[in-house]
Each structure stands twice: as structure tokens, then as C-alpha cells.
Point group: C2
Chain length 418, copies 2
Amino acid sequence: MEAVTPQSDFKALTGPARAAARILAIAPESQRNEALRAAAESLRRHSADILVANARDVATSKASAAFIDRLTLTPARIEAMAKGLDAIALLPDPVGRVLSEWTRPNGLMIRRVATPLGVLGMIYESRPNVGADAAGLSIKSGNAVILRGGSESLNSARCIQSCIQQGLEQAGLPRECVQIVPDADRAHVASMLGAAGEIDMIIPRGGKSLVERVQREARVPVLAHADGLCHTYIHEDADFAMAREILANAKMRRTGVCGATETLLIDREIAASLLPLLVQDLHALGCAILGDETARSIVHDLEPASSDDFATEWLDARLSVAVVDGVDSALAHIARYGSGHTEAIITANAEVAEQFLNGTDSAVVMWNASTQFCDGGEFGFGAEIGIATGKIHARGPVGLEQLTTFRYEVRGTGQTRP
Amino acid sequence: MEAVTPQSDFKALTGPARAAARILAIAPESQRNEALRAAAESLRRHSADILVANARDVATSKASAAFIDRLTLTPARIEAMAKGLDAIALLPDPVGRVLSEWTRPNGLMIRRVATPLGVLGMIYESRPNVGADAAGLSIKSGNAVILRGGSESLNSARCIQSCIQQGLEQAGLPRECVQIVPDADRAHVASMLGAAGEIDMIIPRGGKSLVERVQREARVPVLAHADGLCHTYIHEDADFAMAREILANAKMRRTGVCGATETLLIDREIAASLLPLLVQDLHALGCAILGDETARSIVHDLEPASSDDFATEWLDARLSVAVVDGVDSALAHIARYGSGHTEAIITANAEVAEQFLNGTDSAVVMWNASTQFCDGGEFGFGAEIGIATGKIHARGPVGLEQLTTFRYEVRGTGQTRP
């Protein structure tokens, strides 16, 4: 099997991408699904070739052991990639959804219909399977995509995309629905970020510095998520057992995800009785805890928490604690330190809960649930491209629907405007 | 009545704007509507002061007669401003709409709810009433706004905004929900465009060079519309009488609006019989017509239409004509020359109509209706902020709903994530 022959020039990708997008935009759902299943089969069929290409990448990589682990493909990881494409094929079609329709007094029938965005640009780091996932989600949502993965995984990426392109061809769709940048030249990233009008949206998937660079330099709209400085607020009317279970899950289920709780806010009324139990629970799970002055007066051996600490997303087994005086002061703390991601309140008081739900400017607000539920799969979206903390176009867990836009279809019978 | 005291520094506006936005975001609909009605009354009550301020602006303006006409306020224009605010108060509340809701297998109830964007920035030219309109739409949609009007209308703007701030105060809302930039310093525009995180969306309303500058320089998301190079395609199965009526309206109802048809595409099959009649209709209305070679072979005295002409938005009584061979060639012409705004097909053939509706990448596509219907009022939106030709967040006629974003509210009973 041939690997993808790289184009010599990035600009040579955008024209074919737009042309491919036009064809893909009107391709029936069945054809897009056929391409995905054929791509999955191609990945399975060429598993050996993919492993060879990947071994080349690994051999030339000078990175850390953890990085090489993310870079390395195995038969199991290739099968997971293929299964991922099969799963995407089974998702509901986001294209063509009728978002609203109405008839005007003059008889014009207006309908708002979901349509593909057009050409996506995905910039990602390290794990080669992200490229397969990105291609699959793009095809499913009727978008062409230009991919730029980490330079360390270029051989793997070319091989994977070649399989996906075979799947497209088998379904009668243009290979250029999915393209990768010609080579590891970092200038291609800048080209992508500047391709306003040629690329409709850029999705960075990687660490904070990648996301920030993209947001800073892009002239193309960016769908990105940044910090997840999430709060769990235990209100005085909380059920203690529920609060303990939820907090342990919200902090420690997985500490490296953006939905992990980083700061606990707890009402003064219950802090003396509940905080020691929470600390005990978390220490048993291996979590270090920092507390403000009041928290430390209740549990003496906490590390001190400063203002900088409350502004820090730990992404680790560390939790900051602030004792507050009711829901307004909890909301004030969140307004000051939050990143607009996910906040939760634990309480049996419905009125206070609604006040909290209405009172933040975050993408996701929860009542009596763990912040770790902020996830596309948990929301029922079937796929997750990321979690958007901006306010424009997409917000919170981003699923296939956010890879679409819409158009208005107006059906008349000869109406003219007075 | 005091005029607004300008702040000495732009940066001094954004903090208060954000604080005001937080209060406005949870203000009930009745309070926002009360502010709008009180603002309208304040405009009426201070009509004389507004006219004095406006006279100062007009006296110092060195602009053209047409510009001064747009700048000048009269008692009638002030009443129209006030009526505009009253009308906005009557619109349905865009905040708090439940966009979707569902329950997960684990019992979590998830709801997507419309929320204000936060802080808007509006940059507009010449007509002072645009500032009142902008303030009204912002307040209605729960957003704080920072306004930057043309420097020639600064006195008028300050006076108008003072009235609106009185309305806000009367309703118990912060004056800083609506602020104007301190002075005519052009650096304030650059400050607004760079205020990422402090301003959530910028809306430019004005000529092409303003919009393009904003789109080029803004680090803040921009809601803008640019070119309206709209097409009307008369397919061979069109009803001739309908086609003649629609084309005349689409071109000549108002030639300066972005929804005016700029290019006629007509099927070769019917060109010989229909084109002379269309030309006759349009010449009688004072429209000049340019045609491609085939069009000129049918109607000899047309001006020649070049490729550049097909790429020109006339905004005038001028129409380009291309003879095409069926819907695919019409779509190809639109793909090449269109600006993604509005396209229409005239035909009795439903199958071809659907192919056309699906086959462009434009914000609005019409069947048997005039492109001049591309307008927020005609769509039933009640207000129009502009027509967006981008694909992100808003597209087509932009109403109040596009001044909102959403959040997810998750209501649980203690669920933790496995």
C-alpha cells in the first residue's frame, strides 16, 4: 500500500479541500457512513503497514517515555481507531437537521437547516489516533478537513490517512476530503491559522501552549477549550453523604481532565462538621489539600491556599479549599477565579440551586452531580471534539452538531417584497 | 439634563461593563422592558436637548450633504428612536429560552438554555439612531454594550445615551449597561478590537471599509456582514409572469440593500423568449444591463459583462446577465462569483428547486421568492442587527437570538461518574 504522497505546498491543499467539501456537503448520509466503514476496514487490513510506519516515528523520536507511550501504536490501538470510525458511522446524522421552521403572513415558508461548515483545520499533538478520530468526525459532519498532527507522528499519520482516503474512494467520495499537511514544516501551522476564507474553523487539540498560540494567531475562527478551573460548592443544605461522594469523584476520578474540580467552596455553617470528613476522604485517595485561613482553623495540617492558588488549575491530586458565606459569596469567588468551564452546587435547597444555576457565566452548571460529567459522551453527544469555553458558536462539550452551521431555505409562490 | 460625562480612559469602561452585564444577565424580562420604555420616554422628554446637541454636531461637520442628512436629527427621527425602543420592549425575550432538554440513562437531566453573551461592542457610522437601536437590542438581550459611533455624532450620541441610562436607572439597573467611548480618539476603536475576554462580540455597522478593518484587526469575535452579491436564477421551468415580477422586485425594489440581486442567471432554453421581456421590464425601471456573449446575441444593445463584472456587487441600478445550461451550471457560477449571501431560483420544478436549495454554500437560498426578503423583519425576527455572511455563531439575518449564547444546566440527584 502506498503512503500518502505529500503535496509540496500547503496552498495546494485548500482549493481541493473546498472542492471536496462541496461534494461532501450534498453526499447522502449513507455514502458518508459507507466511507467511514470502508476506512475502518482499510485500517484493519493495513495494520502491519501502520505499525511499520509508526515504528519509524518512534525510532526517530527523541522525546520522553510518556510522550513515546502516547506516540506508539499497537494492534489494539489500531483496532480501537477502526472501532472508533465504525461508532461514528452509527451516530445520528448532524447534517440536514431542521432547526426551526415557520410560515410568514405573506405565505413564505422559512426553514433553518443544519449544513456542514465546509473546510475544517485540525491541529493536534502526539497521539496518532486523534487524526483518525478527527477525519471520521469531519466526514460524518460533511466537512472536508486538513490535518496537521505532531511532527513526530508524520509517518503514522500519512499511513492512517491513506487508509481513510481509500475508504472515501471506495464510497465514491473525493480523496481530498481528508488531507494532511505536506511535511513537518512549522510554517504550515501559520499558513493554516491565516487561511481565512479557505478554512472555516480550526480546532486545536493539545496542550495549553498549542491552544493559546492558535487563539492568539488565528485569523480563522477557532473552536478551542482552554482552562478548566472548576468549582464544587457545598451549600449548607447539602446532604453530607452525597457531598462526600460527589466531591471525591469530582476531584479524584481523573485529575488530568478539564472537568476535574480544582477548588472546593464550602459554607461556613457546615465547614466545622463536614470539612474534616472531606479532608479525610481525599487524603485517603492521595489528594493534597490547600485551605484558606478559615479552612486551616478547622483542619490544621492543610497547606495554605493563596489567591494565586485559587487561580490555578491543578490537573493533579491537589485541591484548594475556601470557606464561604452562602451562595452569593460562592458566586463571587467563581466570578473572580473561574475559567467559565464547569461549576457545581451540592444542596437540597432547590431555590438556592436555581440561583446558583443562573448566577454564573460558565458553560456548564450542575446541581447535585460531579463536574466530571462535563464530557461529550456523558452528555449523549456520541463523540467529543473538545470542550469549548468561548461563547461564540459552541460552548461546553462539543459534539458533531458544532461542526455544522445552518442556512435558511425560503420557499415561496412568487412573493415580492413591498 | 446632564450629558454623559466621558471617562478619560477606554479601559475604565470594560470592568464596569462586565459588572453591569452580570447584573443584567439575571434581571427579569419585566425589568429590562421597563428600562426600554423608560428610556423611550426619556428620549421624548429631552427631545429639545438632543436637537441642540445634534445641531452642534451638524455645525462642526465638514462632510457631504448626503452625510449630513444621515447625521441630522429631527423631532420625527427622535420619535422614531423612541418608538423603536418601545417596539423592542414588545419582542419576545431571547434570554432563558430552553433550546433543548433531555435525560440521560443515569438520570441526569440536561438542559441547554439561552443566556446573554455578556458585553457587546458596537462600532457604527453616521446615523445617531443606530446607537439608540444598538443600546435597546443589547438591553433586551441582557447584554451590556460599549458603543463607538462616528466622531461626527459624538454630542448627539452622548445625549441619547444619557437618556437611555436614565431609563436604566429608573428600572433599577446599572447605568453602565450602556456606555460610550470617551471621545473621538480613533485609538478607542483599536482598544475595542483588541479587548478579547473583556468584550464578547463586536458588531460593526457601516460601510465596507469599516467592516473589513474590523474583521482584519479584531481579536474579539466579530458579527459582520460583508458583500451581498446575490443571484436570481431563472430555470427553464419557470413561470414567465412570476419570473418577471420577482426579478423586477429583486433588482429594483431597493438597489442599495445587500439583498438586491446583482446577477441574473437564465437558462439557455428560455433565454431567447424571456430575456427580451426581462430587459424591457428593467429598462423601463431605469436599470442598466450587462450581458455575456450569449445574452448579447439575443438582446443586442446590452453592455458587455466581463468576469470582473460578475464579481461586482453593483448596489445600483445595474444588473449582470449570464446565460447558463441548467441548474448545475447555475450553481457553478454562484460557487465561483457568489459571496455566500442570498441566492434564488425561479422554477415550477420542485426537484430542481431542491437541488438548488441544497447546492449552494449561501446563508439564504430561496425558491420562487425575491432575494429582497433577506431581512430580519421579513423573517419575523422583529429586529435586525445585520446580515451575517460568516458561518460561525450567526448566519443570514441576525436577530436578538444571535446576541445570546447558551449554557448547559445539569440537574442530578447525586450521580458520580464511573
